[in-house]
Symmetry: C2
Subunit: 551 residues, 2 copies
């Protein structure tokens, strides 16, 4: 309908776009039908397989003026299909196994549309009403998943105006920042003539409590959002201290103690110890119980960044991998990762319902004192009702449904590791603990040579392997059927030499073993074509005198 | 389809919810059709008119355990309809004029569904591809709207990896925090042996530059998000200094100078001056040019919070009200306010494309150096592709379409002010400059008496008027046809006595003059029933000896 009302800019025409829906046979009407009936088909058909160079795409998004005249919805939709959708990323493809974005259950799409249509603003009850108790309920359920307190606890605190069991956030970064914000404000709390860091600022807080600096401790595998948090909160990135990890990418307790002792000896104070509940790069989990013990010992806030791995708590079989998380003061979990909810659903949970007092804010026209407005305890203000999608996913799939998904993902990762090991010219670099693993392509003679290579030899060979891995990953992304990501690790068994690896996340339930076999076949085929890179590697091998031995 | 696959938790059943859509005749299928064909009808039909007490709603959201077993989609959808949708807020109703959430153009709903279905993650190109240039384009267009630089400027900077013309955010709060974060990091930048506040922290930054404290100056009408920003960034809420305003709720330049002089005299440094481009409570605009001059004079960052009013720049007729905004170092605009985009679309724009360097972050597996990944320059990490909806709204409506909407809104507010003035027992408290005004109910004799009342008399009468206004607002919200919000102001003509007022925002294009007349009629009817509150007011008038004069 609104398609043809824009012959001129009239008030009548504008009112129509607020009152009349798209006709079912319009371009947008047809798209909507396609999305409802066959999302995967729609995405498969409209997203082009072959990658277009970014600078060519940018050419279509170069006009810098707000368009003067209105445009037909159908024309605009055609433009979007050809220039935006066509060159977006098929994140729900079962062959897109490079990042943490997976397929979505179909029922979430119409529910997401309902959420957008309702257009609630969760900052305050006056613009959200039932969405406020719903969001508190979601936080309560996730709190329960982590902390497993009794029914009385939740009855008492879940809907209490002065308390919050957590905060919904746009994502894990805001969740991590919020957790450390709370920790900072609780540590440098009001006392005597000091009104607290929230009121007086960080410099005054440090001076009042006599700390030269605050530090946050996390393994060197910690997520970069913690660095953002240290920056934003005024702590300073240098004071986010990356602690060395063991062979399984877990924080080394001895190194942590050493680092914390040093901070204290220099007059600093450890604000928080962050345990990682599934590192972004390798999927490994820190020893959370030991971290909890130690945080308690030195009086530091214990935060667990389980943005990605937190959903594992729904698996009875694998829940034990996160043992100790229930002792964390705060925990980050992203529902848009392994909870299969659309982008934009992060959460931070707080062990004690009163912890959010440290960041409480009020205003006259909303979030007045005593109101249950969620804005009083969140970093963000106006926010959409994403909690509804988390709530729905948990109810429709149930804990057992999630358990099945999570178990299958982990088992698929273990299967893929076995498949990789079965190839003589690939190697697993980090084993999967959850559904994430890293590996690389490595010609068999080089693999053998590296087993007993000296640090110097590793140092000279690795850059060639890195170039090869980079080449394969890029080429596969650009022209292949599959997408894996890449990162750089420092494996202990390769003398900590920075090594580029493929990284796969196997959370998409539609990914099959055949597809995984295809991924490897495609990578080997690309490697076979990389003549000059292979040549350089070969030359290096020869110069190192490593060819003869394995010829 | 997926409705009946959950008889038991099987892998097959789970795969189905990722592959098979809802049947058109399922509950969710029908809802989707209703939403597409008649959103307003759907909302009008499903959201109950009479308000249910919050504690009763909470009763339905009290279960604290993640449900163990899966549930039929249709059963769950019924639950949502009866318990969530029914008791949500009809924010797009033309009679919902209490907050900044308005109706949405219909075409945005199917587009929002497309956005959710694509499920892109804007943190990096690998999970967003064309969405990245699109988002940069949106920021470029908004930058152009504010700063009006030439085509070369945008060609050079819009898609430059090391630069950003702004940052998309979940909302205005994150936008304001980001702006002040940038300002803080630029002020306390690296120099000589100092690595900058981002690296070394705020206390070290203040020490290095010899500042006792940083302050942010804003009028007393500034949004509470600035207080959150001051807290989060370690500046301290006390150092967000609220400057007195004039009769039109604009910052008083003399008071600002006084306050800044005091900060400097005490060894502090004014980090930023924030101009308000449409206050949340009264809609008034600060004298932005004067603020720009003064910020330049004292070397402070000049930020304009135009979260709500920024869209006015699209009106040739009213653009002049924001004159001076083009001199701001940074500007916040929320597309989910007067740009009619669904919740979750905030933006901050930066005058200079290199300013974001102050907050640049990188990681190994994404947002590597030199990449165009948006995550390098935003506070948030993973984020949805909301920019697509902003882009679409600007293209389908065009600048002229927006101008029409904005002009009509402002004129409607002026009309409503006239309507209020025509009633002897109402009074306009703040005149509309944009489409926002405040007023209150006040019996005619009290209104007359207040004209020449002493400060003491105003002090004694006002609490009674406040109670009456509160009562009317609450009752109307709970049982009436309309919703207006309320806030507390300190009007100069009432000796700064804290006065509760009704607050209306007239951005919904579907709101008619008849509806506005109904709002007043309803309020008067409620006031007529408020016997005890009116009695108390009457008694106070008599005790003050004010009745006789006006009997």
């Amino acid at each position: 309908m609104s398609d043809n009302v824009f012959a001129e800019v009239s008030e009548e025409a504008l009112l129509k776009i607020f009152t009349l829906p798209e006709a079912p046979d319009s371009t947008l009407g047809r798209i909507e039908k396609d999305l409802s009936e066959n999302l995967m088909g729609f995405l498969g058909e409209h997203i082009v397989a072959r990658e277009k160079p970014l600078h060519e795409i940018e050419h279509n998004f170069a006009a810098s003026e707000v368009p003067e005249l209105p445009r037909y919805v159908s024309d605009h939709t055609d433009f979007l299909l050809n220039n935006l959708v066509a060159h977006s990323v098929h994140t729900s493809s079962p062959r897109f196994i490079g990042h943490m974005t997976s397929a979505l259950p179909y029922f979430l799409l119409p529910l997401a549309k309902l959420m957008v249509g309702l257009n609630q603003n969760l900052v305050k009850i006056e613009t959200s009403k039932a969405f406020t108790p719903l969001e508190r309920n979601v936080l309560g359920m996730l709190h329960n998943l982590v902390y497993q307190r009794d029914a009385n606890f939740y009855q008492r605190w879940m809907h209490s105006a002065q308390h919050s069991l957590g905060a919904m956030c746009s994502g894990g970064t805001v969740a991590n920042i919020t957790a450390l914000w709370v920790a900072r404000n609780l540590l440098l709390k009001p006392s005597k003539d000091f009104a607290g860091v929230a009121a007086e600022g960080l410099a005054a807080g440090l001076a009042h409590y006599g700390y030269k600096r605050l530090t946050v401790m996390v393994s060197e595998r910690g997520h970069y959002s913690l660095s953002k948090a240290a920056d934003v909160l005024g702590i300073g990135r240098k004071n986010l201290i990356g602690v060395a990890t063991d062979d399984l990418n877990r924080i080394r307790m001895d190194k942590l103690r050493e680092a914390c002792d040093k901070v204290a000896a220099e007059g600093g104070k450890v604000l928080a110890i962050v345990g990682v509940g599934g590192t972004t790069e390798t999927g490994h989990i820190d020893p959370l119980t030991e971290l909890a013990d130690y945080a308690e010992e030195i009086g530091a806030h214990f935060h667990v960044d389980a943005a990605w791995g937190g959903a594992t708590l729904m698996s009875e079989k694998y829940r034990h991998l996160l043992a100790g998380v229930e002792r964390a003061d705060s925990v980050t979990i992203d529902a848009h990762k392994q909870m299969y909810v659309p982008m934009g659903a992060g959460m931070v949970l707080f062990k004690e319902p009163s912890m959010v007092r440290g960041i409480e804010h009020h205003a006259e026209y909303i979030i007045r004192h005593g109101s249950k407005d969620l804005g009083a305890h969140t970093m963000e203000g106006s926010r959409p009702g994403m909690a509804m999608l988390v709530y729905s996913a948990m109810h429709v799939m149930g804990r057992r449904g999630y358990e099945l998904l999570i178990n299958k993902s982990i088992e698929k990762a273990k299967l893929f590791a076995d498949m990789i090991r079965a190839h003589e010219d690939f190697e697993v670099v980090t084993e999967p603990q959850l559904c994430l693993l890293t590996y690389r392509y490595i010609p068999a003679p080089v693999k053998q040579a590296l087993q007993q290579a000296t640090p110097e030899q590793v140092k000279r060979l690795t850059p060639h392997l890195n170039a090869l891995t980079r080449f394969i990953q890029k080429r596969q992304r650009e022209t292949g059927q599959s997408f894996v990501s890449r990162t750089k690790l420092t494996p202990a068994h390769y003398h900590r030499e920075p090594s580029v690896v493929f990284r796969v996340v196997l959370a998409n339930p539609l990914t099959t073993a055949e597809m995984l076999a295809d991924v490897l076949a495609e990578q080997r085929a690309i490697a076979d074509q990389a003549m000059s890179l292979r040549g350089a590697l070969h030359t290096e091998m020869r110069e190192l005198g490593l060819l003869a031995r394995h010829a």
